[in-house]
């Protein structure tokens, strides 16, 4: 079953933003998902004319719902996500600003425009973000998912496995134990790790399987590689993306672009040519183990 029943792609009228259409159309076609195109245009045109202008192949038109307005600011995009029950947003990191860059507010990153940033920070659904150096390479072959033990990363892996099953892709999973690994991740989970051959193989597997409690073995077969790396997280992921010719990077994140691990994301967005699927975590269900102070 497709993990995305409806996909939304916002276009600001620029050629840069329009680069996301090819990928969005391909995904929609492969997944049988309805594609909502938000086309910012000063003049509303008949749908067929506008789709032809946007170079959406005619065979995809039955799956497309076109929306036109003079502009689609971030609030309009997020409202459209809710209104159309979209499960995925596909957009470029920058739009028309990339073609005529205005003065940036101090401190803002140049590689993600303010609309994209607002959408990825505010979107309740995953966002497929095309980096500035995006190179279209369809069909996709494999997804790389960095895991850390955090709920967001688990969510990204679950989504990637769903996508891989729907699109017949491979999933590579990597955990990079960075030198500054914090309280999360395998490094933290590996307290009293004992000898290398006793714990780590199973633990690495458990690291993956805990993210996929609702997936059976058959669905997990798409995971063809699980790697444990150590070193600089960004550099290691970049190496894996390049070495394995990764089509899509699926990452869990906290939803704040300028904080914490978003530094790794920024580092990668500057350098990679594949799209990035940004997934925020779902809240954990209620859980309580009544031991220790719980029973005192």
């Amino acid at each position: 079953m497709s993990p995305f029943l409806a996909i939304l792609v916002p276009l600001d009228g620029s050629a840069t933003a329009a680069r996301s259409l090819g990928l969005a159309t391909w995904l929609s076609g492969r997944l049988g998902a309805r594609l909502h195109i938000l086309s910012a245009t000063p003049v509303e045109r008949p749908a067929r004319e506008e789709l032809a202008r946007l170079r959406v192949p005619a065979e995809h038109w039955p799956l497309v719902t076109l929306h036109q307005a003079p502009a689609y600011p971030e609030r309009a995009i997020l409202a459209a996500v809710a209104r159309h029950d979209a499960r995925l947003v596909v957009m470029t990191a920058r739009g028309e600003a990339a073609e005529a860059p205005p003065a940036e507010p101090p401190g803002a990153p140049r590689l993600v425009g303010h609309v994209a940033r607002a959408v990825i920070e505010g979107s309740p659904v995953p966002v497929l973000l095309l980096p500035p150096a995006y190179r279209e390479a369809l069909p996709w072959q494999r997804i790389l998912v960095p895991v850390s033990g955090e709920a967001e990363a688990d969510e990204a892996l679950a989504l990637a496995v769903g996508l891989a099953n729907a699109l017949d892709l491979e999933v590579h999973v990597a955990h990079v134990a960075g030198p500054d690994a914090g309280d999360e991740g395998l490094a933290a989970r590996a307290r009293y790790a004992d000898a290398l051959h006793h714990e780590y193989p199973h633990q690495l597997q458990e690291f993956v399987r805990r993210a996929l409690p609702h997936h059976g073995a058959e669905q997990c077969r798409c995971i063809s590689k699980v790697e444990l790396c150590h070193g600089d997280v960004g550099a290691e992921l970049l190496r894996l993306i390049e070495d394995s010719r990764v089509s899509l990077l699926a990452v869990g994140w906290h939803g704040r672009f300028l904080s914490g691990r978003a530094r790794v994301l920024t580092y990668l967005l500057e350098r990679i040519g594949c799209p990035v699927l940004l997934v925020t975590g779902a809240p954990r269900p209620p859980f309580r183990l009544k031991v220790g102070e719980e029973i005192q």
């Binding site: 805990r210 269900p285 209620p286 005192q296």
Partner: protein, 976 residues
């Protein structure tokens, strides 16, 4: 004490039922007339109990109309009485009730009022809790407005947004008003929804008052005690029941509420059930797709499978071709698929509301409970219990009770054990044809691919009252009726029976259904007998008692009486360590068994005797004589430790030194043999089993020690601290080896003296020359055993003091960076140790050196230890406690005690840490209590009372010594 109002304090149930009937009957008549159908009026008994009793009125409207398939709009709370909305009808019912209340008045139950007055006279706080918006009015009408300290009624619930019963909100609110935690409060209720609210709220005691002949329903929904009238209870009885219930609620059980799928594998380990012969992880009866509900059978190993799930995608062992290399997992034997009216009830979907697992430690039974809400506000409760019988080790028992709480429907239950992904989940197993002649039963036969062991699971299931067996059921289920299914599963392997298939079928045939409760009781009786010897009471700390019992539960569950098997590192609860047997058994777990179940301890040593040939082969492989036990062994005693592992990503090979160098395990086995003999005076064992182990291990050491210019040395070993390999004269190893040699000399002399025939037979069997023990004595005498230097410190191994200092950062203690395991050569050059090594020696031999030396070594090694093993904190706690370092001892002990329950290591998903549990027990008994054994029995250290952790008032346990359990008690005060 929290009292429900209607039906417990006041006799208003009749008024309510009449008001509901008046409301609904008019509506039902109109509807029937419109449709030309016969009228089915509201039943003031059955419908009242099932749908409206105890609930807020709008919920009652919804539930009853839903049960008749009638939908009305919600409306809003301002709807006028009689408007055809949920709220309008609710308001109408209220008006009808009030009219009756004014007209007919309300009577009270005198016995209840008397109990309340009596409670208040004793200073016990009371509250009245009602779903009714008329609560205050009813109290006023009954003349008992001031009877209670607090009251919560429907108006409060509305104002505070409290959910109605069976949600516990109103009772929790009342407890909050009284300032009493739920665990210390009693709920008294007459409605099924009310007792369920009490149970869900975690109240200390739930009393059901059976006014309507529904005693079973009250009990089934959570009443701990059911009475016909509160006159049957007095304050002393209530208090005794509350205390007993609290005891059971807390320290005798481990409970998990809710469900976090990401933590399911952790929970499966904690809630595993086992009886030593087999173990089953605690997956739900309706498993998630990713559940790992493995069944393990002790001794069933197979060749390492190259592409199983959970395989080492990153790591590859090299050279592991042993046919008994890893413990085999078999399919989950409690699998169930449930649907009601075609809708699946499982924990993967969105229909479950409440879920809990309760491990009853006292009886060794795992309880499960799930509440589902399906379309149309229909509720289904599923309760289960299961156990791995201690009375019949081949038997698993399971009971599932399904109750359609507020509707009738069709229940389908599929008990087939077919695993839809067998090959992926259990790749060691090759299915074989099985006898399917019995249509009511089910048989699954497998053979392991490499070792050729046959495993057979046979099952029968019945529905209580049906008089038949079936695998798949489709039955009508009436509202409120409990449908109880029972299943027997028999497990046999070709290691137990020539024809396991027939043995399993015969086992099942021997079990009539009327013996199900008897079988459960026999299992519980075994546990009761075990707790007589294994329980530890800690006055002042129920949480500690709970954790100690949890640990004891898993240690007891882990050990079989079969001398062909021993206890794996994660027992029968997980796949980590592949079921391998390490030094953990004799050095960490053994004392627990020795002093709580010496017969189990003996059988663990018989495993070492049974695998002596494997140990002899290993000694020969190492160029030595005698027997050297494998660092990692399974059923043959051959060493299954990999020699290297290869990282797939980089191709890097990392050598594993433990298999060839960690030879101290051999002395650990000998140590356990001697301790067993000391503790039991089991001379027959020493004569027939122990002496041979001691002789063969001494022979190994004599050949392993190398003569140098100033005595003997043991070179090229790994000690307990596995960060350093190829070291010479590891203090722990050498002292243990000397002890092994000396005890072997003693044992052989004892044998020659007391049993010349046995001595001759042994000497002939193992080719022992009469003067060989003299050679052992000489090696022991001249073996270099590092002693304390000028500062009192024993050098861990030759050259340790010269290694590069490594100031261990605080954040790396208990949390070694992953690079530590990859940078093994660098670590080998640092003064950084993984776990207690010299301290291990000082723990095992508390009298070897004076206290000052123990203190000096603790002070030196403790800061250099990163605790890269779960075995380390317990030993540090033991040594620190003996030194009187109370804060440190407590800190380490807590770390060890709650290691699995708090998932400190983050890897309890892979199985519980059985050896850590043993170390925790030792730290308490030999550390905090400082127990020593004399001929008269165990004697705690006179200073022990001063070492007890904070909040403990007293500790009491029994230690078995020379055939009898000896009570040991240490109290902070004169009497707790």
């Amino acid at each position: 004490v929290l009292f429900d109002l209607d039906g417990v304090v006041t006799q208003t149930a009749r008024l309510h039922a009449a008001a509901w009937a008046e409301l609904f009957d008019g509506l039902l008549r109109r509807r029937a007339g419109e449709r030309g159908e016969p009228v089915q009026p509201f039943d003031p008994q059955a419908d009242y109990r099932a749908h409206v009793d105890g609930k807020p009125r709008h919920e009652g409207v919804r539930a009853f109309l839903g049960s008749r398939g009638i939908e009305v709009p919600e409306g809003d709370p301002g709807d006028r009485p009689g408007v055809m909305t949920v709220h309008g009808l609710g308001a109408r019912k209220d008006a009808l009730f009030q009219r009756r209340l004014r007209r007919e008045g309300v009577a009270v139950f005198a016995s209840t009022v008397a109990l309340v007055r009596s409670l208040r006279a004793r200073g016990v706080k009371t509250a009245v809790v009602s779903s009714s918006r008329n609560g205050r009015e009813v109290l006023r009408a009954a003349g008992i407005e001031d009877l209670f300290d607090a009251r919560v009624d429907g108006l409060d619930a509305e104002a505070l947004g409290l959910r109605g019963k069976p949600h516990p909100d109103p009772f929790l609110r009342a407890a909050g008003l009284l300032g009493v935690p739920p665990g210390r409060a009693v709920v008294v209720e007459d409605a099924v929804a009310g007792v369920e609210a009490g149970r869900r709220g975690g109240f200390g005691l739930v009393v059901g008052v059976d006014r309507a002949d529904h005693r079973d329903a009250l009990a089934a929904h959570g009443a701990d005690v059911v009475v016909a009238d509160l006159g049957e209870l007095d304050i002393a009885g209530l208090d005794a029941r509350l205390q007993a219930r609290r005891d059971t609620l807390t320290a005798w059980r481990v409970e998990q509420e809710g469900l976090d799928p990401a933590r399911e594998h952790d929970m499966e380990s904690l809630f595993a059930i086992a009886n030593g012969y087999l173990g089953v992880r605690g997956a739900p009866d309706t498993p998630l797709a990713g559940s790992q509900g493995d069944l393990f059978v002790a001794g069933v190993y197979d060749r390492k499978h190259p592409d199983r799930p959970y395989s080492e995608l990153e790591f590859m062992d090299v050279g592991r071709e042993d046919p008994y290399a890893e413990l085999v997992s078999a399919p989950f034997p409690f699998r169930l698929r449930l649907t009601v009216d075609g809708l699946p009830l499982d924990l993967a979907g969105t229909r479950w509301r409440d879920h809990r697992r309760v491990l009853d430690l006292r009886h060794g039974i795992l309880h499960g409970e799930a509440l589902y809400e399906i379309e149309g506000d229909r509720r289904v409760t599923v309760r289960s219990r299961r156990c791995a019988s201690l009375d019949d080790l081949h038997l698993l028992l399971q009971e599932i009770t399904v109750c359609l709480d507020n509707f009738s429907g069709t229940l389908e239950a599929d008990f087939s054990l077919d695993d839809p992904e067998l090959a992926a989940h259990h790749p060691h197993l090759v299915p074989r044809p099985a006898d399917t002649a019995d249509p009511g039963g089910e048989v699954h036969r497998f053979t392991t691919g490499g070792s050729g062991i046959e495993v057979c699971l046979a099952a029968r299931t019945t529905l209580a009252g049906s008089g038949r067996d079936a695998v798949r059921w489709r039955v009508p289920a009436a509202i409120g009726e409990a449908c109880t299914f029972r299943r027997y599963v028999a497990v046999y392997t070709s290691r137990d029976a020539a024809d396991p298939h027939q043995a399993a079928l015969a086992g099942l045939r021997a079990l009539p259904w009327d013996q199900f409760e008897t079988a459960l009781a026999a299992h519980a009786a075994r546990w009761a007998a075990i707790w007589e010897r294994a329980d530890i009471r800690v006055a002042g700390s129920p949480a500690t008692e709970q954790a100690l019992r949890f640990n004891a539960y898993h240690l007891v569950s882990a050990a079989d009486r079969d001398p062909r098997v021993s206890v794996g590192a994660r027992a029968l609860t997980g796949r980590a360590y592949e079921g391998h047997v390490f030094w953990d058994v004799e050095v960490f777990k053994f004392p627990f068994y020795l002093h709580t179940a010496p017969e189990v301890a003996r059988d663990l040593l018989r495993y070492r005797h049974h695998t002596l040939d494997g140990a002899r082969r290993r000694a020969r492989e190492l160029g030595c004589r005698g027997a050297c036990y494998a660092w990692e062994s399974t059923v043959t005693g051959d060493d299954v430790t990999p020699r290297t592992i290869r990282l797939k990503t980089t191709g890097t090979e990392i050598p594993i030194f433990t298999g060839t160098q960690q030879v101290h395990v051999t002395a650990g086995v000998a140590h356990a043999v001697w301790r067993y003999w000391e503790a039991t005076a089991d001379h027959v064992f020493l004569r027939d089993v122990g002496a041979e182990i001691l002789a063969e291990t001494a022979r190994f050491w004599a050949s392993r020690c190398a003569r140098g210019p100033r005595g003997y040395h043991i070179r090229g070993v790994v000690g307990p601290d596995e960060y350093h390999h190829s070291v010479d004269d590891n203090a722990y190893t050498n002292w243990m080896a000397r002890w092994n040699l000396e005890r072997a000399v003693e044992a052989v002399a004892w044998l020659r003296r007391g049993s010349p025939a046995a001595w001759s037979a042994l000497a002939e069997r193992i080719g022992l020359a009469p003067d060989e023990p003299r050679a052992w004595a000489e090696v022991a005498r001249e073996l270099h055993c590092p002693g304390p230097n000028g500062r009192g410190i024993i050098e861990q191994f030759a050259g340790f003091f010269d290694l590069e200092a490594y100031p261990l950062p605080r954040e790396e203690r208990f949390r070694a960076p992953i690079s530590r395991l990859f940078d093994w050569e660098r670590i080998n050059r640092l003064q950084l140790i993984k776990q207690a090594d010299v301290l291990m020696l000082l723990h095992l031999f508390p009298d070897l050196f004076p206290r000052a030396v123990v203190a000096a070594n603790y002070g030196y090694y403790e800061p250099r230890t990163d605790h890269g093993s779960s075995l380390s904190p317990g030993i540090h706690a033991a040594v620190a406690a003996r030194l009187g370092l109370r804060a440190e001892a407590e800190r380490y002990w807590r770390e060890s005690l709650w290691l699995d329950l708090s998932n400190t290591m983050g890897n309890s998903a892979l199985g519980v840490h059985a050896a850590c549990m043993g170390a925790t027990w030792q730290a308490l008994v030999f550390g905090f209590l400082g127990v020593r054994f004399t001929d008269a029995g165990p004697v705690p250290d006179p200073a022990a009372a001063g070492r007890l952790p904070a909040k403990w008032r007293a500790v009491a346990l029994a230690l078995t010594w020379r055939g009898r359990p000896c009570p040991v008690a240490v109290a902070r005060e004169a009497a707790p």
